[in-house]
């Protein structure tokens, strides 16, 4: 879609689509007023094309609206002929909400009230929405933007809400492209443009008079203040008082282009005539019908065309409408009273109307018209709902989630970092050697760390830390109750995390929306990517949940189609923190090892002393006996025993030193791994890849030269233009009577060769009237 860079703030496309996930806006209900207001809302259903898309589409007459310029004598003259690219009029508008939690447009309010359907909180209020730049501040995914569509014949004199016609007003912000103006002008006027369908006079429109055999016209009135720029905020009645008129120079429509400021004209003069062809004599351009400057300034223009052309122009606006079965009377362009017999649906491709439309049952079977819902009922459509049988075919597969809690013998705590450190320190500091006996008594030699089944880190939002209405409880390690306290984890209520819902809407509304042409990839945090089958999800609502198994850190991504679980994918969102450092148990082992080493050293020392004593007796004995060799040997043995004694003493001292210097174990946590998943986005991402046509592709030319693939069994009278047939059942009369337009020419029978030629021609493609 073309982006209107002349409009301040985000592009109209993004404002609507990014913030509402709705390409189009549908009529929801009617608000009684001096005018008849049709409230609309962003479509939040699996249909992309609503009934009230309003846009300036390619080839629409509104692309060719001529605007006025003011000459040096303050006389309004016609502007130059111009054509612009398609633009959408959707833009940020000041909106308010109604009791149905929907947002709608109200020019008397200067704030945007946004409602998040997933939240129970109050409305989010974006003040001063009408100030430029603020429109980019909407970050909700499912905002609903409501735009008021005025449905009344607009005649500022006497027929302001005549029931004989329909007027649609769409308001918009714009500003001039002049940087100087941007710098000094903070407020910009609303865009108001009215269109209604009626008779040739262009003013007193009555739809009853429109028929297939009479010329028709669409009339439109642009409010004069559309090109006005202001220094001051709008008045409390919601309208700006014109100070200046910005007339369009060229390449402009609706003032959404370069403008030039002038003072507001006091009187409109068109060569002394209030009827002036500002668009030349081509019916494709607009005739200036009337121009007035008053408290309700307006410019009325009209364009006369054939009935079919009127329908085409209506279709450019994306509106539903219907015609009676007695000859094409347009009853209402909002879709009221539509049935399978009379409904006419505009074709909307890629968010842009094409001017084409579908009639009758062909339209009623369009997905655009088949979704049973409130708005559909509101507009009175009573046609078939061929797709409503989807759930009926599959039965009720709505999935009910359960929340089992299997705690076993564990108590689950939800701790903040400080509490976890305190727990570790308590284990460490509470069992210094002085208290070792008590420690051993408490745990009977069992490592207290073994009581901790798991410590798992969960990222923000995925935790189970609902401590509201909870009381902190003492932490228990086995039978030992510490003085430390923490909160018990709320597993039962928080083991399911939601990512909300997203309607998957078709874009082309044809085969290109499905595989293999379109692919849908869903990224679920901590789980990975899931490829969704467009045939399953197109036209339905996607819901994504994450089931978390808190004790293990594992999780399961659950992908739902509407209320039915369709796919699951496993992952891990908790990062297990291993207990790898020396623990208290090993400390005790070290103590025991040191004690054993000490005892061994003492035994060694005693042995050494005994050895020395033995050697001395030998010396004495040796001396008595006079055996010098024995004496020598005894001295040598004594010296060796003394050395052993020294070593034994050293061993004892070393053992004692070790025993005294055994470092108490430190309970610590090591680096968590794998932690890479924590670096990824915690939101789901849905990426829809769609094919695009080649640059030179022209759907109209393609349809008339190649023809769009289809598979339709019907009489050929239902087809128009290029038609290629496969299996042909020629009318039986063809073989015995030749139908000739001029009956005076009589008839003959078709020969077999002729029938073969007919079949051949139909198979090769013919152009049907």
């Amino acid at each position: 879609m073309e982006l209107n860079t002349e409009i301040w703030g985000d592009s109209s496309h993004q404002v609507l689509q990014s913030n509402t996930n709705s390409n189009h806006i549908a009529v929801s209900d009617i608000i009684p007023d001096i005018y008849t207001y049709y409230d609309t809302y962003g479509m939040d259903e699996p249909i992309d094309n609503s009934i009230a898309l309003w846009q300036i589409a390619d080839n629409s007459w509104f692309n060719k609206v001529l605007w006025l310029r003011r000459d040096s004598n303050n006389v309004i003259q016609k502007a130059e002929t111009t054509t612009i690219n398609a633009k959408s009029l959707w833009l940020c508008v000041p909106v308010t909400y109604d009791t149905n939690h929907n947002i709608h447009f109200n020019p008397s309010q200067y704030q945007c009230n946004l409602w998040d359907p997933d939240s129970t909180s109050t409305y989010y209020v974006q003040p001063n929405t009408n100030l430029r730049g603020i429109v980019t501040g909407f970050n909700y995914n499912r905002l609903q933007l409501r735009v008021t569509v005025r449905c009344a014949l607009f005649d500022p004199d006497t027929k302001e809400h005549a029931s004989s016609g329909s007027t649609i007003s769409v308001y918009d912000y714009f500003h001039a492209s002049d940087p100087q103006d941007r710098a000094y002008k903070d407020y910009y006027a609303l865009e108001a443009f009215n269109i209604f369908v009626g008779t040739n006079d262009g003013i007193d429109q009555t739809y009853e008079t429109i028929s297939l055999n009479n010329p028709k016209s669409i009339s439109a009135r642009g409010r004069l203040y559309t090109n006005t720029m202001y220094n001051t905020p709008p008045t409390t009645d919601g309208y700006y008082k014109p100070e200046y008129l910005y007339y369009c120079q060229n390449n402009s429509v609706f003032g959404l282009s370069r403008t030039q400021k002038t003072t507001i004209p006091q009187q409109a003069v068109f060569g002394g005539n209030t009827s002036y062809y500002i668009g030349g004599f081509d019916s494709q351009y607009w005739e200036l019908d009337e121009f007035r400057v008053s408290s309700t300034d307006y410019i009325a223009t009209r364009c006369t065309a054939s009935y079919e052309e009127v329908l085409k122009q209506l279709a450019y606006f994306g509106l539903w409408f219907n015609e009676t079965d007695t000859g094409g009377t347009i009853r209402n362009i909002i879709g009221e009273g539509c049935t399978d017999d009379n409904v006419i649906l505009p074709e909307i491709i890629g968010g842009r109307t094409t001017g084409n439309f579908k009639r009758g049952e062909a339209a009623g079977a369009d997905p655009q018209a088949t979704w049973g819902n409130t708005w559909r009922e509101n507009v009175g459509y009573t046609g078939d709902k061929p797709y409503s049988g989807d759930s009926g075919d599959t039965g009720d597969l709505s999935t009910v989630f359960h929340r089992p809690v299997l705690s076993g013998s564990c108590i689950y705590y939800n701790m903040i970092t400080t509490e976890l450190k305190q727990l570790i320190n308590a284990i460490n500091s509470g069992y210094q050697p002085a208290d070792n006996d008590q420690f051993i008594l408490d745990f009977k030699g069992v490592n207290p760390a073994d009581y901790i089944s798991s410590i798992i880190y969960y990222p923000e939002g995925f935790t189970c830390g609902n401590v509201e209405n909870q009381v902190a409880i003492p932490i228990k390690i086995g039978a030992l109750e510490l003085t430390l306290t923490s909160y018990e984890a709320d597993i039962s209520n928080q083991n399911i995390v939601s990512f909300g819902t997203l309607p998957i809407r078709p874009y082309y509304h044809d085969f290109r929306d499905y595989a293999p042409y379109t692919t849908i990839d869903l990224y679920i945090p901590f789980c990975g990517n899931v490829e969704l089958d467009p045939a399953v999800f197109m036209g339905h609502t996607l819901q994504v949940y994450l089931f978390i198994d808190f004790p293990t850190g594992n999780c399961t991504g659950v992908v739902m189609r509407d209320a039915m679980v369709y796919d699951t994918i496993s992952g891990s969102c908790g990062v297990s923190i291993p207990l790898t450092a020396q623990n208290v148990g090993s400390y005790q082992n070290a103590i025991k090892s040191a004690e054993i080493a000490l005892k061994q050293a003492e035994i060694q020392r005693k042995t050494a002393w005994l050895s020395i004593a033995g050697s001395g007796l030998a010396v004495v004995g040796g001396a008595v006996s006079g055996n010098p060799l024995a004496v020598v040997g005894g001295i040598a043995g004594m010296l060796g025993s003394v050395n052993s004694l020294e070593r034994a003493e050293l061993s004892v001292k070393a053992a004692e030193y070790q025993l005294e210097h055994i470092a108490p174990s430190v309970r610590s946590v090591s680096a968590a791994s794998p932690a890479n998943a924590l670096c990824m986005d915690y939101d789901c991402h849905l990426l829809i890849k769609r094919p695009v046509d080649t640059d030179d592709y022209d759907s109209i030319i393609y349809g008339s030269t190649v023809g769009n693939a289809c598979c339709i069994n019907d009489y050929l009278s239902a087809f128009h233009g290029l038609t290629v047939c496969s299996n042909i059942y020629l009318n039986g009369a063809i073989s015995d009577y030749i139908s000739i337009d001029d009956a005076t020419f009589g008839g003959n029978s078709a020969t077999a060769q002729e029938i073969a030629l007919i079949n051949q021609a139909l198979e090769n493609g013919v152009y049907l009237p």
Partner: protein
Amino acid sequence: MKWGVVMAHNVYFYSCSCNPNNVDKSGSLAFLGSSQILRPTHQINVLTPAFSIDYNGTLVNANYCYIDTFGRWYFCTVSTDTAQRMAINASVDVLYTYKSAILSSGATVIRRENYNGSTGCTYVPDKKLPLDPCRSKFDGYRLSLIANTNYGNYFVAINGG
């Protein structure tokens, strides 16, 4: 038919300005004039008749004709010969000739431009549609986490109690 009496074959000549594949050519025919087939010296095939008429300059540009005897419409080619005669070679246009019958016939249509006002692509895959082989359109959507209430990030399971 009496012996020796040649039945008159009236031929009505037109200038046809539409595609030969058009079933309905009524809006594209400009009547140029009529003539009669001169005495044929040989059989005239009803599907591809070839015959002669008297020279008529207004008919030189004819490319379409109707022969009342056969009750058929023909594409035709005009050429002149000597003796102020024009030679016509025609071939039957079955589409216009049997227009009404064709329109009332049933068929399985595999390609269409307009069906009851419906145009554009359908849900039937169209392999001829010129889709760009290189580029794609990407639409990204974010499904935001509806976060759990957060107190602490550590889930600690301890045997006890």
